[in-house]
C-alpha cells in the first residue's frame, strides 16, 4: 500500500493511503486537501502507472519538489520527500515487500567457530558518537554518513508514526543498503512474549544469490546482547590474509557486522549485515570491506532504529489503550442511552396496561405513543451506530439536493411542532443536479436538523432555518442549518463531533453529529460550525459540488 505521510506543515502527522489516482491541493475537491496557504488549489496529481506512482505538478504557483529538486513529473520511490507549498510529505510504497516467513531462511548457529568467524572489533554505543558534527579527521564517506544519519533519524521517526513496524524495518534496511555495501542484511527483534530474537526483515542485494542460508552465530548474538556492543567479524584467519597461497583465495572472505538495537528501555533486537568477497577479489588497500567506520555507523543506526521501533510499539500500545478507553467510554454512554430508552418503553407499556385495566382508550393511546417514540429512538441509535462503525464508500449517483433536504424537513416537521420550534426551509431555485449519496446525506442532514431543534426546544420564538447556498462555478455546495438556541461554547465546538460526548439534557445519543461529520468527510466535504452563546448556532454542511456529468461512477441517474 502506498502512502504519503505529512512530516512538516499544518497537516503534520496525517497519513494518506493512496488510491490509483488522486490530486493534492488546497481545495476541498482534492482527495488530499492541504491546509496550506502556499499550496495551489490544484497543486499536483499522483497516478499509479506500471512503473510506480507518478507525481505530476499541475502548474502550481510555487512548484512541486522531490528531495529538494523542482519537478514537473517524477516517478516516486520509497523515501522520497515531496514538498508542496509548505507541506513536506514522505512517500512510501511497500508493495515490493511481501511478508516472508524468515524462520527457514535464517539459522542461528551454536558455535562461533562453526562459521569460522572471529570478532575483529567491537564498539559500544558511546564510542560511536556518529551524531556529532563531522570534523576534518573523518573520511569524506563518514562525514556524508553522519549528515545522512540526521535525515535517517527524521525519516525513521516519520515512518514510525505509521504504526507499522514492518514498514519501518524495511525502510531502515533500505537506508542501510544505501550507505553500506552489504550483500545481506537481517533485522531480528526480541519477541515480547518469549524474549527470544526472531527474524523480522531480511534483504539481499540485487545480483547476489540468496542460496546460502544466513548463518548467524549464537555466540556473536549473545556477545552483542550481553555487552551491548556492536561487533565486526570475519571468517578469515589473521595470518592467512596476506598469504596469497592460502585458502582465502580459494574460498573468499565473509565479513559481518552485528549491532544491538538499543533503545531507551532496553534492547529491542539486533541488526546483522554481511558481505562476501569472492576469491581473487580481495580489495587491494584494505584487508576488509567492512571497517571500523562501518561498525561505528551501524551501531548508531542500531540505536536510531531501536528508538524508532520503540516509538512504534509505544505508539501502538498507546493508540490501543486510547481505543480501549474510548470503547469503554462508548459502552458506558451507550448503556446510559439504552437504559433511558428502556425506561421509556416501560413507562409506555405500563400506561397501556393501566389503560386496558380501566378500559381507558386515552390512557392506552398515550402509552402507545410513548412506546412508539422509543422504538424510533432505538432504531435511530442502531442506524447511527452502524453508519459510524462502517467505513462505507458513498454510493454516488446524480441526485437533487433540494429533494433530499425537503425529505428531511418533512420528516422533522412533527418533531419540530412538538418541541414548539418553527422549522423554515426554502429550496434553492435553479440548483443543478449533483453527485452524492442521497441516503447517506439524508442521514447527515437529519442529524444536524434534529440537533438544531433540540438546541432551541425550550426557547421562546425558537426557530430553525434550513437553506442551500450555491453559485454557478462554486467548488462546494453548502447546506446551512441555523438555530437560535443556547449556542455552543468555543471549547465545546470540537467536542460535539467526538463520539458519544452527549451534552446534558440532549435527547440525542451523542452519535448524530459525529455520524454527520463522517458522512460529509466520506464525500470529501466537511461540517463547519459557527456559534455564539446565548444567540444561536450555524452548521454548514460543505459538499464538493460534483456536477452530475462529472460523476466518474457512471451509475443510473436518479429519477
Amino acid at each position: 500500500m502506498a502512502s504519503l505521510f505529512v512530516m512538516q506543515g499544518r497537516d503534520r502527522g496525517k497519513r494518506f493511503e493512496l488510491p490509483a489516482e488522486l490530486t493534492l491541493g488546497r481545495d476541498g475537491s482534492n482527495l488530499i486537501q492541504l491546509n496550506d496557504s502556499e499550496a495551489s488549489r490544484q497543486h499536483a496529481r499522483v497516478r499509479k502507472e506500471e512503473a510506480g506512482y507518478l507525481l505530476t505538478d499541475l502548474s502550481s504557483s510555487n512548484g512541486s519538489f522531490v528531495n529538494n529538486e523542482p519537478v514537473k513529473e517524477r516517478l516516486l520511490k520509497t523515501g522520497d520527500r515531496v514538498l508542496l507549498g509548505r507541506s513536506l510529505m514522505l512517500f512510501t510504497d511497500t508493495q515490493e515487500h511481501s511478508s516472508q516467513n524468515l524462520a527457514h531462511e535464517v539459522d542461528i548457529v551454536g558455535e562461533l567457530h562453526t562459521t569460522g568467524s572471529r570478532i575483529l572489533k567491537s564498539v559500544s554505543q558511546d564510542q560511536s558518537e556518529v551524531f556529532r558534527a563531522p570534523d576534518s579527521a573523518d573520511s569524506p564517506w563518514l562525514a556524508r554518513a553522519r549528515s545522512n544519519l540526521q535525515i535517517m533519524y527524521r525519516t525513521a521517526l516519520a515512518v514510525s508514526h505509521t504504526l507499522d513496524i514492518d514498514q519501518l524495518l524495511h525502510r531502515i534496511m533500505e537506508l542501510i543498503f544505501e550507505w553500506v555495501e552489504a550483500d545481506r542484511g537481517l533485522i531480528m527483534l526480541s519477541s515480547h512474549e518469549t524474549g527470544e530474537l526472531e527474524p523480522a526483515v531480511s534483504r539481499n542485494r540485487k545480483g547476489t544469490k540468496p542460496d546460502e542460508k544466513l548463518s548467524v552465530s549464537r555466540t556473536i548474538l549473545d556477545y552483542v546482547l550481553q555487552h551491548k556492543e556492536g561487533v565486526l567479524t570475519s571468517d578469515a584467519k589473521d595470518d592467512e590474509r596476506w598469504d596469497p597461497a592460502n585458502s582465502i583465495l580459494k574460498l573468499g572472505v565473509r565479513e559481518a557486522i552485528c549491532v544491538p538495537m538499543q533503545g531507551r528501555y532496553g534492547i529491542v533486537g539486533v541488526i546483522y549485515i554481511d558481505t562476501y568477497t569472492a576469491p581473487g577479489k580481495l580489495p587491494l588497500r584494505t584487508p576488509n570491506k567492512f571497517t571500523e567506520e562501518h561498525l561505528k555507523l551501524m551501531v548508531a543506526i542500531g540505536h536510531q532504529a531501536a528508538l524508532a521501533v520503540e516509538d512504534t510499539s509505544y505508539y501502538s500500545a498507546m493508540v490501543h489503550a486510547e481505543r480501549l478507553a474510548a470503547m469503554g467510554q462508548t459502552i458506558a454512554t451507550l448503556s446510559h442511552h439504552i437504559k433511558n430508552i428502556l425506561q421509556g418503553i416501560r413507562g409506555g407499556s405500563y400506561l397501556i396496561e393501566e389503560g386496558l385495566k380501566g378500559s381507558d382508550q386515552d390512557v392506552i393511546r398515550r402509552g402507545w405513543r410513548i412506546v412508539e417514540k422509543n422504538q424510533e429512538r432505538i432504531s435511530s441509535l442502531v442506524l447511527d451506530m452502524l453508519t459510524f462503525s462502517k467505513d462505507r464508500e458513498p454510493e454516488l449517483i446524480a441526485a437533487d439536493l433540494n429533494e433530499t433536504v425537503s425529505d428531511v424537513v418533512e420528516l422533522m416537521q412533527i418533531r419540530a411542532a412538538e418541541a414548539v420550534v418553527e422549522l423554515a426551509w426554502q429550496p434553492l431555485a435553479n440548483l443543478p443536479m449533483f453527485t452524492f449519496d442521497p441516503e447517506l446525506l439524508h442521514r447527515a442532514i437529519l442529524n444536524v436538523v434534529t440537533n438544531a431543534i433540540d438546541a432551541c426546544e425550550k426557547q421562546d420564538g425558537a426557530e430553525v432555518a434550513v437553506s442551500i447556498e450555491y453559485a454557478l462555478g462554486d467548488r462546494t455546495v453548502r447546506i446551512v442549518v441555523s438555530d437560535n438556541g443556547a449556542g455552543i461554547a468555543p471549547d465545546d465546538i470540537k467536542k460535539i463531533f467526538s463520539v458519544f460526548e452527549s451534552r446534558k439534557g440532549a435527547r440525542g445519543t451523542g452519535l448524530g453529529l459525529p455520524v454527520s461529520q463522517k458522512i460529509l468527510r466520506e464525500h470529501g466535504g466537511d461540517i463547519l460550525v459557527e456559534s455564539t452563546l446565548g444567540v444561536g448556532s450555524k452548521f454548514v454542511l460543505e459538499l464538493p459540488a460534483l456536477a452530475a456529468e462529472d460523476s466518474k461512477v457512471g451509475k443510473t441517474i436518479a429519477s
Partner: protein, 118 residues
C-alpha cells in the same frame, strides 16, 4: 385535602406516565425537570411525597441535597430516590429504585407513603 406528590425528573415521558396514573388515583401532582425549581416547588407546596430522579440537573449537588433534606425534615415528607445515591449523601436512602425501574412498584410505594402522610 388530597395528598400531593412532587416529581423531579428530566424525562417528560416519565412525568407523563406518573401524572396520568397518580391523577387517576386522586393524587395532586407537581412537576419539575430539574432539582433547583423542584426544591422551590417543594418549599411552596409542601408535597407529602417527593420523587427525585438523580439524573435531573443539580440533583447530585451537595448544597441542594442538604437544603432538600432540611425541607423533608421540616415537613416530615417522604422521599423516593430514582437512581443510585452516593455514600455520604445527606438524603435519606430508605426508598431507592435503581434505573431502569418498573412503574408498578414505584406507583405502589408512592401511594403507600402518601396514605401514611394523610
Amino acid at each position: 385535602m388530597p395528598s400531593s406528590v412532587l416529581v423531579v425528573d428530566p424525562s417528560a415521558e416519565n412525568r407523563e406516565v406518573l401524572r396520568t396514573v397518580l391523577h387517576q388515583r386522586g393524587l395532586k401532582i407537581y412537576e419539575a425537570d430539574e432539582a433547583t425549581s423542584g426544591l422551590a416547588l417543594a418549599r411552596e407546596h409542601h408535597p407529602d411525597v417527593i420523587v427525585l430522579d438523580l439524573d435531573a440537573e443539580d440533583a447530585t449537588s451537595g448544597p441542594l441535597q442538604l437544603q432538600l433534606r432540611q425541607e423533608l425534615d421540616r415537613e416530615s415528607s417522604s422521599l423516593i430516590i430514582l437512581g443510585k445515591l452516593r455514600t455520604g449523601s445527606p438524603l435519606p436512602a430508605g426508598h431507592t429504585l435503581s434505573k431502569p425501574y418498573h412503574f408498578a412498584p414505584l406507583v405502589h410505594t408512592i401511594q403507600e407513603l402518601a396514605a401514611k402522610a394523610a
